[in-house]
């Protein structure tokens, strides 16, 4: 595994508040890694330490196998919490500053502005931008140096549904370029939609880490519709189902672990039913997340 980031026993105390407690974590190259956790769980604190704006209390971390330094940070594109720019400067001028700091070419400025669709507004002052535009400018800024790693802290915070969809599309596109992305969020749905791996923090403690796929594995629920009055009974009779519910137009069939929609479909066909709708629902991360949080409460 090509490790981009490795964290060992990272701890941060603010007075008596333990914002981060003995966090150990590895992020591999090419991962879209979600840091999930409720408000105040230490996501921003973790990223702040990794970017050297917050001093750690103890522990260690390494980027690309090297100790933290400004040279290492130049290979990372990052935004913490909110987009931060000089409000009285235009997008172009702001990005000039970033390019100079990162040692990136100013030639990159126009292409990244085009990529986030701010090129037409590039000469307007940052102050005059809408929240969505500000958010997009910070992604442009993070892309400026063609970074190996991108760090995004709640990049869709405060956006409308269309804005959220746009930003997520952008993140997925960037991930396709093979970049490693570390994304902090308290939106489970967001992590499920864009991430390949994730961890869960709670009050500064790591309570889970793994791949999104693994979570979605296991028992699945299938939506079924068919024009047959006996559908309910036939579904109930299926030996692979654990529960059948009626949800408006569809039946929701909870399958035993290992059973798939294909097998269910074959069973129904053998009973002379042709389905008009068949859809596998992945077990939502939300459920899993709530389960995890509950478990950690009991522990």
């Amino acid at each position: 595994m090509d490790t981009v980031l490795s964290i060992k026993n990272l701890t941060k105390h603010y007075g008596r508040v333990k914002a981060l407690n003995n966090l150990s974590l590895d992020v591999a190259r090419g991962n879209v890694f979600g840091i999930l956790g409720p408000n105040g769980s230490g996501k921003t604190t973790t990223l702040g330490i990794l970017l050297d704006v917050i001093n750690k209390t103890s522990g260690e971390f390494a980027w690309f196998g090297q100790p933290p330094s400004k040279e290492v940070r130049k290979r990372i594109g990052a935004i913490l919490e909110t987009p931060i720019f000089y409000p009285y400067l235009s997008a172009t001028k702001n990005l000039q500053i970033v390019a100079k700091i990162k040692g990136a070419s100013v030639e990159n400025i126009d292409p990244v502005l085009k990529r986030v669709e701010l090129y037409e507004r590039r000469h307007d002052k940052f102050r005059t931008y809408s929240l969505g535009m500000k958010q997009r400018l910070s992604i442009a800024s993070a892309l400026l140096c063609d970074p190996e790693v991108m760090i995004l802290d709640e990049p869709t915070n405060g956006l409308d549904p269309q804005g959220i969809a746009e930003i997520r599309e952008l993140i997925k596109e960037i991930a396709k370029d093979g970049k490693t992305i570390i994304l902090a969020s308290h939106l489970l749905d967001e992590v499920q939609k864009v991430c390949s791996h994730f961890c869960v923090l709670k009050k500064g403690n790591l309570i889970y880490t793994g791949s999104v796929e693994d979570v979605s594995k296991g028992a699945v629920t299938v939506e079924v519709s068919a024009e047959d009055d006996d559908l309910s009974e036939i579904l109930e009779a299926y030996e692979g189902s654990t529960k059948v519910e009626k949800d408006g137009v569809h039946h929701l069939v909870s399958l035993k672990e290992g059973k798939t929609a294909t097998e269910l479909n074959a069973y129904l066909f053998s009973k002379g039913i042709t389905v008009s709708h068949l859809n596998t629902q992945r077990k939502s991360l939300e459920k899993q997340f709530l389960e995890l949080l509950a478990e950690s409460d009991n522990a």
Binding site: G48, L51, D52, V53, I54, N55, S69, K70, E71, R73, K74, A78, I79, L80, I84, F85, Y86, P87, Y88, L89, K93, Q96, I97, V98, K100, I101, K102, G103, S141
Partner: protein, 266 residues
């Protein structure tokens, strides 16, 4: 270092208050000697009578007196440039851009260097303006200019530079400590009266400490020159002790800025 200066200049070049304060400062520097001379001419025209003494004969702006005189007077204007420095640094806190600069790949030391570079540039620029203004004023008004006299006392222009630079580094330090611009400017304005109130009431046994107070140290570089016009002794040289104390203060401020920034979460 040059790159760090460029970065800071992009931030300032497009900031209105930067130009307003600099231009105001420049205009004051250029206009003070003109105003003084025109005022003396006007006095003479009004037939003001100083026991038959011609006001234009007072050599305040003649070589070689001019250097110490203008250097002394101009140091009262340095608050304008200090405000430029305070705003340029407190903005980084209020916009949180100091945090983003570091995230983007500056070190905290780089940040300090970039601000010090700007302070150095302001000080050098201002010193040049003082030099040019002094030269032109002297050449225009001094009767029978002699080349040797033109540069006598020129060391006060250097003292002016040191005075200004130290004060601006002090402003930098106070801003890092207080973070907010209005508060910092307020403290900077109160600094002089408070320090002078303290030193005025110092017990005699401690009076030897007076030259080591921060603003006294700066002000000791250029002694008050005008007493000579009522025939009193003045200190018409720069004391090496004063230079040493001021340099020690610069080192101290920069060290304190560095320590404070490295300890703090941004």
């Amino acid at each position: 270092m040059l790159k760090l200066l460029q970065i800071d200049l992009v931030k300032l070049k497009n900031y209105r208050a930067f130009w307003v304060l600099n231009i105001l400062y420049g205009l004051l520097i250029v206009s003070i000697p003109i105003t003084v001379m025109e005022f003396l001419k006007w006095l003479k025209l009004q037939g003001a009578d100083f026991d038959g003494f011609d006001p234009l004969k007072i050599p305040v702006l003649y070589f070689p007196d001019i250097w110490q005189n203008i250097a002394y007077v101009y140091t009262f204007l340095k608050i304008f440039l200090a405000i430029v420095v305070v705003i340029s640094i407190s903005n980084e806190y209020s916009y949180k851009t100091i945090r983003q600069n570091i995230i983007d790949g500056m070190s905290r030391i780089d940040f300090i260097k970039s601000k010090l570079a700007t302070i150095l540039l302001l000080s050098i620029g201002s010193t040049l303006l003082v030099f040019i203004t002094g030269m032109l004023t002297g050449i225009i008004y001094t009767p029978n200019v002699e080349f040797a006299e033109m540069f006598t006392g020129i060391q006060f222009v250097f003292a002016y530079f040191l005075d200004l630079f130290t004060y601006l580094v002090l402003a930098f330090f106070l801003t890092i400590l207080l973070k907010r611009s209005a508060l910092t400017v307020f403290i900077l304005l109160l600094f002089t009266p408070i320090e002078y109130a303290i030193t005025a009431n110092l017990p005699e046994a401690l009076e030897f400490l007076i030259p080591y107070f921060p603003l006294h140290a700066i002000n000791n570089l250029i002694a008050f020159p005008f007493k000579k016009y009522w025939f009193q002794e003045i200190q018409d040289y720069i004391a090496w002790e004063a230079v040493l104390v001021v340099v020690a203060y610069i080192v101290l401020y920069v060290y304190a800025i560095k320590t404070k920034l490295q300890k703090s979460d941004l």
